[in-house]
């Protein structure tokens, strides 16, 4: 169904045309563009201002001024020649698929408009998606259309072809013999088909070595299990079953999980209305993560002190046979915290949960396993299965690889995806090593590894290629392509098949034949079902009944854990922008601010206010960090609530070989990483005296006014559980009936759309922001413009700190247009470009807007966004394919803002009418932000229906409107954040 593609560029400058992809590919411009070294256009608008020459543009501007379009441009309609099953022009198609990262797979549903994948949603049937997505999955669609992707098979940078490559391989593999010179380096994969191919390759080349490496891996979790249970096991947590959760350096709501499941489970226990007891989260961490922000109690500790804390906790709980001596004496505050946590845990045996982050050494994970076992949580809140992939000690393996390469023992090195030259530990200088052998690099973009390759092969995007994955619990899914490879790329699977010498080399055949073999009879129907549902039934792994030998573990732990040296440590985290570098060329993610720091288009060395004071460092000072004898430079950013003597560094920045979006954005810190300090280690920090401009989207970080020092209420409401209960009994306080000059407008009839956002559930993970960006064609403006306050996000996440600077609490508040019934923006617009729909939506008619910006000034929520420049001016054709055809692309000089995804409302309305004019059901219309939200914190619906979910939520005691006293009557109300503090700690 993917031959056909329509570029329906709903832009005010107006260009619509049909094209079959093949045709598009045939056009000389496209070819030429595909083959050009550095295509123009793309993200040029990111280097702001530059390219604009005055005269040219005066001409342009005045051209527009004479605007009466007399002659109409001839437009072609190019219908299909032959029909495509199930395809109706103008109606989107949805296909289930699945993607994986770092060995964690999630099921997705991709929306295709006329053959263009345009939007990613979660697959409700998939246990790790549950219909939700995270920011990265939402942003993947942009990478698909990235004009800077690898586009051409090359040999040492010279244009070549797949045919040439295959020919080369056919005579090369004859020389490999037993494969002792063959090495294959790939990212962590859960693909059963690939596993099968690996086996074949191992058989064909017994001496060959296949190394799997991830810069952000969960190996230590499995290693810990091996230590505890004697075999590597994958823990599965049931956050929805736990009343008390202790997270040890574990950002399980944020970047230490790659699926929506834990968030959904955790959030389900933060809603006091739902009867179930509110859970209580203790976080012990160095960096201030979103998990820390959700915690009821948070202890700041260096990552290197977590082990000691775990030991102390084990002892405090006096886990059987635990004659443990604490490695270093905890401080008073810490002891109090320990005692309270231990008490709480013991009070909730079997209903509590202790988790440790992937950065922590295996010993800590083993210890945690034992603690959970002792608390009777095993089998209740935590269970174990075999991991969905073959675990291996990557670090040792890559170390060996380095030696082999250095010793010239490698004749052929296949790199099947990823960007190892950039991400591998800095123990070796990889690029030259790669050049010493014949490196065949399959890469998504022309990255550092690509540059070091002998054969350069473009990799197909996950949405372009067939494959299969297994989720953490083993549930398998088929990955089906949404579109033909735009640049003729191939998948790792296909290359592996080539290596294995398979005759069938098309991804589809490989995957299908593998599963056909598994299924035997009825494979055909099973296959269809698998594709349709996006999950393959009965593939989940059975839980393993694991029993840990506590004394042995303690012995090992005791032996392994040395007291952490005092002084500064450097800790490595994946970043919210580039993750580990794989999204470095993704403008949507770069522009979406880090949830805690609100930093965009950069990474930074995060440190605590105290440490900053001690080092005499302020925001933007460039630090020189020395760790493990290696050095890196990174600008400092002070983060309240960060642990002292700890510096958090985000991976994936400072890519030297990258597309134009990500090239030299941020600072590379991978150069510090070695096996010894792969996640954290002691470091020296020096202020170089140089400064660097960091741009954040939020300049004032608390609700406390400067000058007066007063706190602003009616913006974010927070209760402790006690306060909430009291309020619930005495009912929610109704606002004083405001006296109006004019009679009320009657909103009692028809659908009245409204939204409720639960601040107790919202973890501030940015998924809604990116989803909104994708759904509503929101432009990217770049670092410079963001620094001018011109970012365009329709929904933003306001993050407020409260409490003392060194150890504050944080709360996230998603803020989009709240659709005031008495909208201040409407009354001031001179041309009525923003008016109200009878259903209570504050509408923006872009084509009417003249751009006075008066509405922006008069909006107390500052949710209106203005196109100060033509952000879509330089968007290249290919990149336009991501546009949502149901939403106008705005031109400059036009105001825009959230409209509750009115295009989705209208779509469902006309559908309902077509189906015999039935009423629209509650929950039938889902806004983009709501659909993406892993915490299910956003609910949209009709408040004229008292039974609708949103009506029920608005009746809750903790429902309130932001800036209620302004009497703007927002349709979006918020449910107050409820915290569940431990009485012993307050």
């Amino acid at each position: 169904m993917n031959e056909l593609i329509q570029l329906n560029l709903s832009s005010l400058t107006g260009r619509k045309y049909w094209r079959s992809l093949n045709q598009l590919a045939d056009t000389p411009e496209f070819r030429q563009w595909v083959e050009r070294e550095f295509p123009e256009g793309a993200s040029e608008l990111l280097d702001s201002g530059s390219r604009r020459t005055l005269l040219k543009l005066m001409a342009a501007g005045f051209g527009l001024a004479g605007l009466t379009a007399c002659r109409r441009p001839v437009e072609k309609i190019l219908p299909l020649s032959k029909g495509v099953e199930g395809y109706v022009h103008g109606r989107p198609l949805h296909y289930a698929t699945a993607v994986e990262a770092c060995g964690v797979a999630t099921g997705l549903v991709v929306e295709c408009n006329d053959g263009r994948p345009t939007k990613v949603e979660g697959n409700p049937r998939h246990p790790y998606s549950l219909g939700a997505t995270n920011a990265f999955q939402q942003a993947m669609i942009l990478d698909l259309y990235d004009p800077d992707r690898a586009r051409q098979v090359q040999k040492q940078g010279v244009k070549s072809s797949w045919a040439d490559f295959e020919a080369w391989w056919l005579e090369q593999n004859t020389k490999l013999g037993d494969g002792s010179g063959l090495r294959i380096l790939s990212p962590r994969s859960t693909s059963p088909t690939l596993d099968a191919l690996k086996a074949e390759i191992a058989k064909k080349y017994p001496q060959s070595v296949w190394v799997e490496y991830e810069p952000v891996s969960f190996d230590r979790v499995l290693e810990g299990a091996r230590l505890a249970f004697g075999q590597p096991l994958q823990p599965h947590y049931r956050f929805d079953q736990a009343d008390v959760i202790v997270a040890l350096d574990c950002d399980f709501l944020g970047l230490d999980t790659l699926s929506a499941q834990p968030v959904r489970q955790f959030a389900s226990r933060r809603r006091p209305e739902e009867g179930r007891e509110l859970n209580r989260l203790y976080a012990v961490e160095a960096n201030f993560t979103v998990t820390g922000a959700m915690a009821d109690h948070r202890l700041r500790a260096r990552a290197s002190d977590i082990a000691a804390f775990a030991l102390a906790l084990a002892r405090e709980l006096n886990v059987t046979g635990a004659e443990l001596n604490i490695v270093n004496q905890p401080a008073a505050r810490e002891r109090k915290f320990l005692a309270a946590v231990a008490k709480d845990l013991l009070a909730h045996r079997g209903r509590s949960l202790v988790v440790a982050g992937p950065r922590q050494p295996a010993e800590v994970h083993a210890l945690v396993a034992v603690i959970n076992q002792a608390l009777g949580n095993t089998g209740q809140t935590v269970s174990y299965t075999r991991p969905p992939y073959q675990p291996s000690d990557s670090l040792a393996a890559v170390q060996k690889l380095a030696e082999d390469l250095a010793a010239g023992r490698v004749s052929t090195l296949f790199v099947l995806g990823g960007n190892p030259v950039f991400t591998l530990p800095a123990t070796a200088d990889w690029a030259p090593l790669f050049r010493k052998t014949t490196a065949v690099v399959l890469a998504a973009d022309e990255n550092e590894t690509w540059k070091a390759a002998a054969w350069q092969l473009p990799e197909a995007h996950p949405f372009e290629s067939w494959g299969d994955v297994r989720a953490l619990d083993g549930t398998a899914s088929i990955r089906q392509p949404q579109i033909q490879p735009l640049y003729g790329g191939r998948s790792a699977l296909e290359i592996a098949a080539l290596i294995a010498g398979r005759t069938e080399r098309r991804g589809h055949d490989l995957v299908r034949s593998f599963w056909a073999a598994q299924w035997g009879a009825g494979a055909e129907t099973k296959w269809k079902k698998a594709l349709y549902e996006g999950v393959i039934e009965g593939t989940a792994l059975p839980p393993v009944d694991a029993k840990a030998d506590a004394p042995r573990v303690f012995a090992a732990v005791q032996a392994a854990l040395k007291p952490a040296p005092p002084g500064v440590e450097a800790v490595f985290y994946p970043s919210w922008h580039a993750f580990d570098g794989r999204f470095a060329n993704n403008a949507w993610l770069h522009e979406t601010p880090d949830p805690m720091t609100k930093l965009v288009w950069d990474n930074a060395a995060l440190l605590s206010p105290a440490t900053a004071r001690r080092l005499g460092v302020k925001d933007g000072d460039v630090l020189e960090i020395t760790s493990g004898g290696r050095q890196a430079r990174c600008p400092a950013l002070v983060l309240p609530g960060h642990a002292d003597d700890s510096i958090s560094l985000q991976l994936g920045f400072g890519r030297s070989a990258c597309g134009r979006v990500g090239r030299s954005v941020g600072h590379r810190v991978e150069g510090l990483r070695a096996a010894s300090n792969f996640w954290f280690g002691p470091a020296e920090v020096r202020n170089t005296g140089a400064t660097y401009r960091l741009v954040t989207t939020q300049e004032h970080h608390t609700l406390v006014e400067p000058i007066t020092g007063l706190k602003r209420h009616n913006i974010v409401e927070e209760f402790t559980l006690g306060e909430y209960r009291h309020r619930a009994e005495h009912g929610k306080h109704e606002p004083h009936p405001a006296t109006d000059l004019f009679p009320e407008f009657d909103y009692s009839k028809g659908y009245q759309w409204a939204m409720a956002i639960d601040l107790s559930a919202c973890i501030g993970c940015n998924a809604c922001m990116v989803a909104c960006t994708a759904e509503n064609n929101i432009p990217v403006v770049g670092k410079d413009q963001v620094s001018k306050g011109r970012e365009m996000h329709w929904i933003r996440l306001d993050r407020y700190f409260s409490g003392e600077e060194d150890d504050p609490q944080a709360v996230m508040q998603p803020m989009a247009c709240v659709q005031c019934e008495k909208a201040p923006c409407e009354s001031v617009c001179p041309v009525a470009a923003t008016a109200h729909s009878p259903e209570g939506i504050n509408e923006m008619a872009y084509n009417r807007c003249v751009g006075t910006r008066y509405c922006l000034n008069n909006c107390p929520y500052k949710v209106r966004r203005f196109n100060f420049l033509n952000w879509n001016k330089d968007v290249p054709e290919i990149r336009k394919m991501v546009f949502n055809p149901d939403v106008t692309v705005r031109m400059r000089g036009v105001m825009e803002k959230c409209n509750y995804c009115v295009q989705r409302i209208e779509e469902k309305r006309s559908q309902a009418k077509a189906e015999g004019r039935r009423p629209i059901r509650d929950g039938e219309i889902v806004t983009a932000c709501q659909q993406a939200c892993p915490a299910d914190a956003i609910v949209f619906g009709n408040i004229n229906d008292p039974e609708s979910r949103v009506s029920k939520l608005k009746r809750q005691a903790r429902d309130y409107s932001v800036l209620e006293e302004l009497n703007t009557r927002p349709r979006t109300s918020y449910l107050a954040r409820v915290r569940n503090p431990n009485p012993e700690l307050v």
Binding site: F62, H700, R712, Y800, A835, N867, R892
Partner: protein, 466 residues
């Protein structure tokens, strides 16, 4: 004719026309400006003004081509220098109409030798002001034809007449039109004078056509005077309404620091304040360039200084009231915004405003300053600066920190902002200099009227000496 200067009564109440000028002298003196070659200073001034005006067009061209992004405006500060300059120029414009209309109604004879130039100044200031609302949209061609309620078959859409911006459109365009009419009506008899003095056929034709065949017959004067009186009567409430309505742009919003009932009177006073300052600046210059000491006497200037002192006090009082109300309202946001003005990131703008608008005019308590040309020239410039800062403080500092701390920001102007503002000066000066060059800068017939009264008063004093 008796030498008026000798008359003791004249000394007590110094004459508005000095140097014993006769009707012919008055005609000759004023017409000579138009008829003779302009002095060197005029060319120097033009050499300064015209390039600036060109800079304005360059900046606007760049803006139109590229978008409003070339200015410093951002979110939350949606209005920056653009609307600041708009309000400032409109304010400047007020003195003209005030002098011609209100002083006329109050029978203030001393207005006669300055009203013409002041009215011209009004027109040119309004022209400069109008540029901003039109161009701050970045797409003036849309603003231009969508801000006026023209029946439109294509769209069937109408304006939103609840919007203060719509009121602005009507107020400013009405004000511009009426001022222009007022100014032209005043010019007619003087154009007739120029016509009658004209020597070349070209001048005869041009001034002839412009003066509409004015004969100065008793009948014509009768209707003329009534028309002029009516225009004065209409302009008076109009001039008050214009800045009131401009202030509604802010007063009717819900933004702390904007949402204030005191704005209309306070804006009008401020407008008059800045307007007179600008008149003094220009008049002292014109007086110097063309040696009009006998027509623009110290009495004229001193009176204007007094007006500046008075309005300056009103403005200062308004600043105080704002703070008091903010405190008295017990509204957290109000309180903060005003403290933020004085002690926030824009403190420098606030205190410059206070220094220029409240402190500077206090010098006018002293006759020495009221009668010293350099002093009043410098002070008037200070006041113009101060009034610009007032508008900037109201607009930028209220916007940059409003309700939600998450969306607070800061405004920085770009070179295009600065160029555009400087450019409007160029346009203003160019127009004003052309006016001086080609039209009678002082109302000839009115001055003669005043002179006539002096003369008859003189006769009365000499008590039937003949």
């Amino acid at each position: 004719m008796a030498d008026l200067a000798l008359d003791p009564r004249m000394e007590l109440n110094p004459p508005l026309v000095r140097g014993g000028m006769t009707y012919t002298d008055v005609t000759a003196k004023i017409s000579s400006i138009v008829e003779g070659k302009p002095p060197k200073q005029w060319y120097i001034a033009m050499a300064f003004a015209v390039p600036l005006a060109l800079l304005l067009f360059a900046c606007l061209g760049y803006l139109v081509a590229t978008g409003i992004g070339v200015w410093g405006n951002n979110s939350p500060v949606g209005w920056g220098w653009d609307i600041t300059n708009f309000v400032w120029w409109i304010g400047i414009g007020h003195a003209g109409t005030l002098i011609s209309a209100i002083l006329f109604l109050f029978r203030q004879k001393w207005r006669t030798s300055i009203n013409r130039a002041a009215e011209a100044m009004t027109l040119f200031a309004v022209a400069c002001a109008a540029i901003y609302p039109l161009f701050h949209t970045g797409r003036p061609w849309r603003a231009a034809y969508w801000l006026f309620p023209l029946p439109n078959e294509l769209l069937h859409m109408w304006q939103n007449f609840r919007s203060p911006l719509m009121w602005d459109v009507f107020a400013v365009s009405t004000y511009g039109t009426v001022s222009a009419l007022f100014w032209f009506v005043g010019l007619i008899p003087d154009l007739a004078t120029l016509r009658d003095r004209a020597t070349t056929p070209l001048r005869k034709t041009i001034y002839g056509l412009l003066s509409l065949g004015w004969r100065g017959s008793a009948t014509q004067w009768r209707h003329y005077e009534l028309a002029y009186l009516l225009l004065a009567g209409l302009s008076t409430p109009l001039v008050l309404s214009v800045h009131s309505i401009v202030s509604f742009d802010f007063a009717t919003s819900l933004l702390p620091g904007w949402h204030t009932t005191i704005f209309p009177p306070y804006f009008v006073a401020g407008a008059v304040f800045s307007g007179f300052a600008m008149v003094v600046t220009l008049m002292t210059l014109a007086r110097w360039i063309y040696g009009l000491e006998n027509l623009i006497t110290m009495k004229h200037l001193e009176n204007m200084c007094k007006v500046m002192l008075a309005t300056g006090m009103i403005v200062g009082f308004a600043y105080g009231t704002e703070f008091f109300i903010a405190w008295y309202s017990a509204n957290q946001y109000e309180r903060f915004i005003f403290l933020n003005r004085a002690f926030g990131p824009y403190w420098w703008a606030y205190w410059s405003m206070i220094a220029c608008n409240v402190i500077a005019p206090q010098f006018f308590w002293f006759r020495k300053f009221r009668t010293s040309i350099p002093a009043m020239f410098i002070l008037s410039i200070f006041i113009n600066i101060g009034m610009w800062f007032e508008r900037f403080v109201i607009i930028a500092t209220s916007l940059h920190r409003d309700f939600l701390p998450s969306s607070w920001g800061y405004f920085k102007p770009t070179w295009v902002d600065i160029g555009t503002y400087a450019g409007t000066f160029g346009l203003f000066l160019t127009l004003f200099l052309l006016f001086l060059r080609y039209l009678p800068a002082i109302a000839i017939s009115e001055v003669k009227g005043v002179l006539h009264q002096q003369v008859s008063a003189g006769h009365a004093a000499h008590g039937g000496s003949h």
